[in-house]
């Protein structure tokens, strides 16, 4: 059975043939499209390492059937930097030691980007912890992650204000 889907992936329109309807978005990215920045941790929706943005919202790619996202916009870690300039969330993770081994980091960063778009943190570390609870870090870099997200929020809000001025 042959299935074909159309997605806008990191800004580029792609027509993709699926050889099997069982393919998840995670396996499509990693195994078919060679976008291995998105990580497979638990593959069961528990760890958040596979977090990507679908139609601008963070979701678990491991629990998303690729066939069902026909027509969607997908953003992955490979698409967030502007050439050599890191995304503010990427830079904040470096500045605040928001990782150790780095395996969960692409998922953490995509989740944080989604969180900042949702705009419900308001500088509150408790809300950051709650809203990042779908992303596990086995190295335990949570303190740095929370600081990084708060810093990225400050930068993002400043940028929005300047953009509006």
């Amino acid at each position: 059975m042959s299935l074909s889907i159309q997605v806008k992936l990191n800004g580029e329109s792609r027509a993709i043939d699926l050889d099997d309807p069982r393919v998840t978005l995670l396996d499509l990215l990693r195994e078919r499209l060679e976008l291995t920045g998105t990580k497979k941790g638990c593959d069961r929706g528990q760890c958040g390492a596979c977090t990507v943005l679908v139609d601008g919202r963070r979701v678990n790619a491991c629990l998303t059937l690729a066939a069902s996202i026909d027509g969607a916009t997908v953003e992955t870690i490979e698409g967030v930097a502007d050439g050599p300039a890191l995304h503010p969330v990427q830079q904040a993770f470096i500045d605040h030691d928001g990782f150790q081994c780095g395996y969960c980091t692409p998922g953490q960063i995509m989740s944080a980007i989604g969180l900042l778009r949702e705009a419900r943190v308001h500088g509150d570390p408790e809300r950051v912890r709650e809203q990042m609870s779908g992303n596990l870090c086995r190295c335990g870099a949570y303190a740095g992650i929370v600081e990084a997200v708060l810093e990225a929020e400050r930068i993002t809000v400043d940028q929005r204000k300047r953009g509006a001025a």
Partner: protein, 353 residues
């Protein structure tokens, strides 16, 4: 994952026809279904993808203050809909206490009603489970069962329903709208999920092929919005299923007398458990800790441990008393950072569970 045919119907009628074939399952977000399929606990031979169906995505309001929520509305879209959250705050709080932000962004209203138990023996295909394989036996009975049911369980099955959303819906007399080959019908949410009895494999009131198209909340539920909360105790602060949870909604007159009361329990039975006797006992009482403690005892009067879980009865009594105290104190203008958490205390609230 077993091989399956993938079908994307263009209409509800087409979907119902396709899903009426044996071995079919509906696919919405798939956050529970794909997990179960990866582990082999579910092996549908045909997935009917309803995510591209039009007309199931709306949050609509009616003239008497009620709401109709389409089956494909995402959990987060419903919880963060300002008007909906203002009128049905316990529903919003329940939704935001469940799962993770990623899952809430994907998971749908209909899917939430259809999610399967999180009993580990149901998930583990090497274990005996009457719910997964009728007649196979129940390894939970003599297994690790501290998280299992204390109300409505049977010798065949002691699993619980994991939903938070459904607990608040049960308290507020929600109605499930269903499409089938015979047309449309409605089922009260409290009648939608079934207790196990001798047939735990029969989990809902749906006939083969029937599709949830929406959930309705009556206008009367919105009149309780001033005193409406959800409280959930779990093994970690966030992103965990309930050990015990409760939704409560009250109407209190100017003299401090309770004129209407709604209570439903989560994590204690195979369905969201409406505690009607506890509600009846509150009507005409003053809204105070003695009345709330009595309601907690009444809610669990028929409870019995199904294993290593007698603690849930005492915990549940206290959760009921506590959620009633929170509801009586008034719905907050903004949900706390940790929705439904006993650790998110408001000023003046008793700080023990």
């Amino acid at each position: 994952m077993n091989p399956f045919d993938y079908i994307r119907p263009a209409s509800i009628d087409e979907a119902v026809a396709a899903a009426s074939e044996p071995g079919s399952a509906y696919l919405a977000a798939g956050t529970n279904l794909l997990d179960l399929m990866k582990g082999g606990a579910m092996r549908p031979t045909r997935l009917v993808d309803i995510t591209h169906l039009p007309s199931l995505n709306a949050i609509e309001r009616d003239n008497d203050g009620g709401a109709r929520v389409g089956a494909l509305v995402k959990n987060s879209d419903l919880a963060y809909d300002d008007k909906f959250a203002r009128d049905f705050p316990a529903v919003a709080e329940a939704l935001l206490s469940g799962a993770s932000p990623q899952l809430r962004n994907a998971a749908t209203v209909g899917g939430n009603l259809m999610q399967r138990t999180r009993c580990a023996y149901f998930y583990d295909t090497a274990s005996a489970c009457n719910r997964r394989v009728p007649g196979a036996g129940c390894d939970a009975r003599d297994g690790l069962n501290a998280n299992h049911a204390v109300l409505g369980w049977s010798d065949a099955c002691i699993a619980t329903n994991p939903s938070d959303f459904c607990v608040a819906l049960a308290a507020l007399d929600a109605v499930v709208e269903i499409a089938g080959r015979e047309g449309r019908r409605e089922v009260a949410l409290t009648d939608f999920h079934l207790l196990p009895g001798d047939t735990p494999q029969d989990e809902t009131a749906l006939a083969p092929g029937e599709l949830i198209v929406g959930v309705r909340l009556p206008g009367e539920a919105a009149t309780l919005a001033w005193h409406s909360r959800y409280l959930k105790v779990r093994e970690r602060t966030s992103y965990a299923f309930a050990l015990v949870s409760a939704a409560a909604a009250l109407a209190i007159d100017d003299a401090g007398t309770i004129t209407d009361a709604r209570i439903a329990l989560g994590g204690v039975a195979a369905k969201p458990w409406r505690a009607r006797a506890a509600e009846a006992g509150l009507i005409g009482e003053k809204a105070n800790v003695e009345a709330f403690a009595a309601a907690g005892r009444a809610a669990f009067a028929e409870a019995a441990p199904s294993g290593d879980n007698a603690y849930k009865i005492r915990l549940g009594q206290n959760i009921v008393a506590r959620v009633l105290a929170r509801a009586a104190a008034g719905t907050p203008h903004e949900l706390p950072a940790l929705p439904a958490s006993p650790f998110a205390t408001a000023h003046g609230e008793l700080a023990h569970v």
